[in-house]
């Protein structure tokens, strides 16, 4: 079903379950502290994180900006239990529309592929926007 797939769009890498895992201190809180706080020593140093560009997606998640979060808020509706509760409706409507589309656009099969593509793009934007 579409909704069940879409309700966890951001957690695709499978890492987030462990990020919030139980225990006295969850890993997310630890990562935030050890990566983003604590004494930073510049200068006579062999290797530190300042030398390494922190631009991997995972680290951006760790040091997510408010802006990123705001953008993510835009798709709250995707996680909304109320809307998901009504999700069966949407799924049916969706299916009907897809069927109609399929009939109408039978000779242009690329369209749906493009739709899917742009959906993925906007998802990517959400995770990659922050600094």
């Amino acid at each position: 079903m579409i909704e069940s797939k879409r309700s966890t769009p951001g957690t695709g890498r499978g890492g987030s379950a462990s990020l919030s895992g139980g225990g006295a201190s969850n890993l997310g809180d630890i990562l935030e502290r050890v990566l983003d706080r604590g004494v930073v020593i510049a200068g006579d140093i062999r290797v530190n994180l300042l030398d390494i560009e922190l631009l991997t997606i995972k680290l951006r998640l760790v040091i997510a900006s408010v802006d990123t979060a705001k953008e993510m808020g835009i798709d709250w509706w995707e996680h909304d239990p109320w809307l998901n509760g009504g999700g069966r409706h949407l799924a049916e409507e969706n299916k009907r529309l897809r069927e109609r589309l399929a009939v109408l656009e039978e000779d242009r099969p690329t369209l749906e592929a493009r739709d899917a593509e742009s959906g993925r793009e906007s998802q990517a934007e959400v995770t990659e926007h922050g600094e």
């Binding site: 201190s25 020593i41 510049a42 509706w77």
Partner: protein, 265 residues
């Protein structure tokens, strides 16, 4: 090429002339040892630059398992050390060429470290995260009127989505106001306070909107009172989550390292 070694620094603590913990294992399995100088003690372990050099780190920092393991080990060393002496945690992956450089650091930065350690001695950091909750069930979605097939289901859907977003915006504003109030009240009680960037849902592991990610430096005996104050600030529409006590990670900014505008109190 031959594998070079580096000295990985975890934390700098006040030297209370106590025996150092001997059973601590550091990142990548090395034994944690101490370097004492100028009334300070640095906790370090030897690492291979095959693992902790810049090049390998570029890859391993993206490996969440590796990162988790390293972060947890680092944190554990910091926590263990902090039980017996005021401790300033050092940022993850701070590697020196050798012990002499660390010794030199303690000598050169004695005053900075002493100042930080004096500020956090006998105090702990408490974390408060506040999330916005959807308040109550939203107004029931208008179902598509009777025409069934002929009405445009896409439009109806968009309308519902718009209405939902408006409700969300209202909830969010409400929650942000509540968060400001909580932060103000807790800051007034705390020795020092910091408002950090809110966590991404993937990091917090929660779908709810985070509106406050605060850190509060609290005297050792006052943790319970702090908890009580927070409990008095809880209200419908928000969820407040308390973590701690932590080693004061958020209150270790030294004068010359303060990159940001948030000078310490």
């Amino acid at each position: 090429m031959a594998s070079e070694a580096g000295t990985y620094l975890y934390a700098v603590a006040t030297d209370l002339d106590k025996p150092a913990p001997t059973d601590l294992t550091g990142v990548s399995g090395g034994a944690v040892r101490v370097i004492s100088h100028s009334g300070l003690v640095a906790y370090v372990s030897t690492v291979s630059l095959d693992e902790f050099g810049e090049e390998p780190l570029r890859t391993s920092m993206e490996d969440l398992d590796w990162l988790s393991r390293t972060a947890r080990t680092h944190h554990q060393v910091v926590e263990t050390v902090a039980v017996s002496a005021p401790t300033a945690p050092v940022r993850l992956i701070t590697v020196y060429s050798g012990d002499e450089q660390v010794e030199d650091l303690l000598r050169r930065r004695r005053e900075d470290f002493s100042e930080v350690l004096a500020r956090i001695a006998g105090r702990w950091e408490w974390g408060v995260k506040v999330y916005a909750e959807a308040v109550g069930p939203p107004s029931s979605p208008e179902t598509a009127p009777g025409g069934g097939e002929e009405t445009n289901p896409g439009t109806a859907y968009l309308k519902r989505r718009q209405a939902s977003l408006r409700d969300r915006e209202k909830d969010r504003r409400h929650a942000v106001a509540a968060a400001d109030e909580i932060h103000e009240t807790l800051s007034a009680y705390a020795v020092a306070a910091r408002r950090h960037r809110t966590q991404d849902p993937q990091l917090s592991g929660r779908q709810e909107w985070m509106v406050l990610n605060g850190a509060y430096l609290i005297d050792g005996d006052n943790g319970e009172e702090f908890t009580r104050i927070l409990d008095g600030l809880r209200k419908p529409g928000i969820q407040a989550e308390l973590t701690g006590p932590w080693v004061p990670y958020s209150f270790t900014v030294t004068a010359d390292a303060a990159g940001g505008p948030d000078g310490s109190g």
